[in-house]
Symmetry: C2
Subunit: 442 residues, 2 copies
């Protein structure tokens, strides 16, 4: 009876493996391969543990550049890196594509959408975040998100299709709603997308003789008093000036209350007739089925102790956007992922890790467009060309893989010299049942 | 009454334009922007006619390299070129994204899926071809095509998802159906895809520790007696030897009679258990709604006279795969597109074009894989490394646009040196209603 003999093995290994069982050490399961989960997996490479990284997608996504996929500058593959390629040399780390549908903390096991069960000795939860619509399902339905590749590609398709629709309408008044783009949320994502959309105007002027590019209207709606509310005020004001100089309208102190086919309704009573409302107003943790009851923090994040552990359990860590406390950015996620890895290695060695987790703040940056970015780093507040070069350098540096760096560098150079958007294709992908079964449709 | 005044204008212009009406000359509508349609549009640039190119997609697709998108080597944008970019400098040529749903030859007008009407003085039909399933809808349902970007991306997703499924199965017998890939049709597309899939084995061996890459089985099923039946026999035999040396199984003289979830049924009584049947067995003309009754040729192609005219009408031309007579390849399509353009210019000038169309055969090529291709050009039959270099050179040369050439060259170089497949992502695109309305869901 292989089943029962498996139950009798002294150390459980995650029993879902194809081929021979691994016997390196305790089983570590990492759920989510974003910045936190991948940093943890890489830090565990070579350690005496069997690591399984579980993700619904087969690639790590460099989300800071998603808006450049949505604005037809980069290819999806330029900012996505297959997990199996990243982890190729980490012989004790394996990848399992799937969506976790249940966590049983007492039995120490997970279930996936495809019906497989994964046992663990140590669990790292790093599922990240999704868009938050503050309880309004109508907003979710009527707006376009920018948190994943499928969403970014849809946004690209949608914007380009709106331009084509406008090109077929002889009446300027009828074109207006197709050529108006509302960006909800003036944080880094909203500012970056609106800036990039503004730069698209030049291309539109060159390639759409059917209407004037001046008819394109881009509006950023921000609920607080200024853009980039998490940045120093000086930088937020600078972003506002640059965007407005580049003909992007900035509406601050205004909340988007509703959206639908007719347009976006604002808290100041105004309604903007538009076919495009982009949602970058807020994010919340991506819940983990089975432990929702523990999600008592703000934005449905999980409360953790000073050693990133969940519910007082020694073997369950939470890192990144899912963990309450730090800003939802890549830097804290990566630091937490590496900390969780060190803690697991210490525990396997029989040592208790002494120091609680401490976040080293490296600052934040946002790009507004050509030759203009803001950076709040090392106590310096950079703007303009200097900030822009700093932004480019840091983002190229943090991209995973030489090939992606080369491809992004090539596309940026091409865009800078030619003001061209090479990936402006309206492309869909035919649905496939095997893919849906693997990812649980997510 | 603007309607009636428009009817009274001496020369009809295609009346669906946004912005001001054009008054350069008679309206030419080209349906389809493949090799034939685009060649025609480019040849009409600067001529005294108003040209409208209609296509359901917003890009010209370099179909000979589609199999490289399907095998995770190239980005979709590397082989697709936006029509508006190609036609940027052609001031008398405009692009109209849409699907033609009806043609009225007597009224000289077309209707599109989005409800718009296009009037023409000259019509060029260049809708190309689609996969032919020889009247078996089950084959269409159960197999994967490779005729469009959505299909190629689905095929990429599907193959990668099959590998991930296999990686989760501990039993080699259960893995077999996921790791068996059947390619129906041994023409250039089938040979190229099977060869590229065979080269994927090395990557699989490196990145999938869960199973042996030797478990991957690739079978090409060809109904005639040998591979590449349209090529000289020597080249077909060479392709067979090279594929078999690279562990691709070649089954000739065998027809695939059925396919379903259980696998592929062959005419020799064999059934291959597989989750992947790729269809490259045949193509037929893509029908044009409203004139199906004229499609009396083989593979539903339209019969034309020696001046490429349809049904004896002076103003309707058919070019490319849709026109009966020549092989369904890019070279005849391009030559016919340019011929139709010259004929239209002559007719507008009041001259009757004297010479009937004559095809200048430049030969054919197919690549089998790394350092191996076959070419039948200028009376020479090239194979091996020489054929491969010829294939690379010709395909780089014929790609549209410097950027696409540079990107493809970069990706080929990367693949050659690193044996890497940079775009091996399982990516979908969220559906968008504006895109569906524009393309008529096609």
């Amino acid at each position: 009876m292989p089943q029962s003999s498996q139950l009798q093995t002294p150390r459980r290994t995650s029993g879902f493996r194809a081929g021979e069982a691994r016997t390196i050490g305790p089983a570590v399961v990492i759920v989510g391969g974003g910045f936190g989960g991948l940093a943890c997996a890489r830090a565990l490479a070579g350690a005496p543990v069997d690591v399984t990284l579980v993700d619904a997608r087969d690639y790590h996504l460099f989300t800071p550049l998603l808006y450049q996929v949505a604005t037809a500058l980069l290819n999806p593959a330029d900012i996505a890196y297959p997990f199996r390629a990243v982890l190729r040399r980490a012989r004790n780390v394996r990848f399992h594509q799937g969506t976790v549908t249940a966590v049983d903390l007492d039995r120490r096991s997970l279930a996936t959408a495809s019906g497989r069960e994964l046992a663990y000795d140590y669990l790292v939860l790093a599922t990240g975040s999704v868009s938050d619509y503050f309880g309004n399902p109508k907003l979710e339905q009527a707006t376009l998100g920018m948190k994943s590749l499928p969403q970014a590609q849809r946004l690209r398709n949608h914007v380009l299709a709106c331009l084509e629709q406008a090109a077929q309408l002889p009446d300027a008044a009828a074109r207006a709603e197709w050529l108006t783009f509302v960006v909800v949320g003036g944080g880094p994502t909203g500012v970056e997308f609106a800036g990039a959309l503004g730069e698209l105007k030049r291309l539109v002027g060159r390639e759409y003789p059917e209407f004037s590019s001046e008819e394109m209207r881009i509006v950023v709606v921000e609920g607080t008093g200024r853009l980039l509310p998490t940045f120093p005020e000086k930088l937020g004001r600078y972003a506002e000036r640059v965007l407005e100089r580049r003909t992007v309208e900035v509406c601050t102190g205004v909340v988007t209350t509703d959206a639908g086919p007719e347009g976006a309704s604002l808290s100041n009573g105004e309604t903007i007739a538009t076919r495009t409302v982009v949602w970058s107003a807020g994010v919340r943790a991506r819940g983990v089925d089975g432990i929702e009851s523990l999600a008592t923090g703000r934005a449905q994040r999980l409360q953790i102790d000073e050693r990133l552990r969940l519910g007082g359990r020694e073997e369950v860590f939470v890192v990144g956007d899912l963990a309450e406390g730090l800003p939802m950015l890549s830097a804290p996620a990566k630091q937490q992922g590496r900390y969780a890895a060190r803690s697991i290695v210490a525990a396997v060695d029989g040592k208790q890790r002494a120091q609680p987790f401490r976040y080293r703040d490296k600052g934040t940056m946002a790009v507004i467009g050509r030759n203009a970015a803001v950076a709040d780093v090392f106590g310096l507040q950079l703007t303009g060309f200097v900030g822009w070069v700093a932004w480019l350098t840091v983002h190229l540096y943090y991209l995973v893989g030489f090939r992606n760096r080369a491809a992004v560098f090539f596309n940026w150079g091409w865009d800078y010299l030619r003001r061209d958007r090479p990936t402006r294709l309206i492309t869909t992908v035919d649905p496939d049942p095997v893919v849906a079964a693997l990812t649980g449709g997510r």
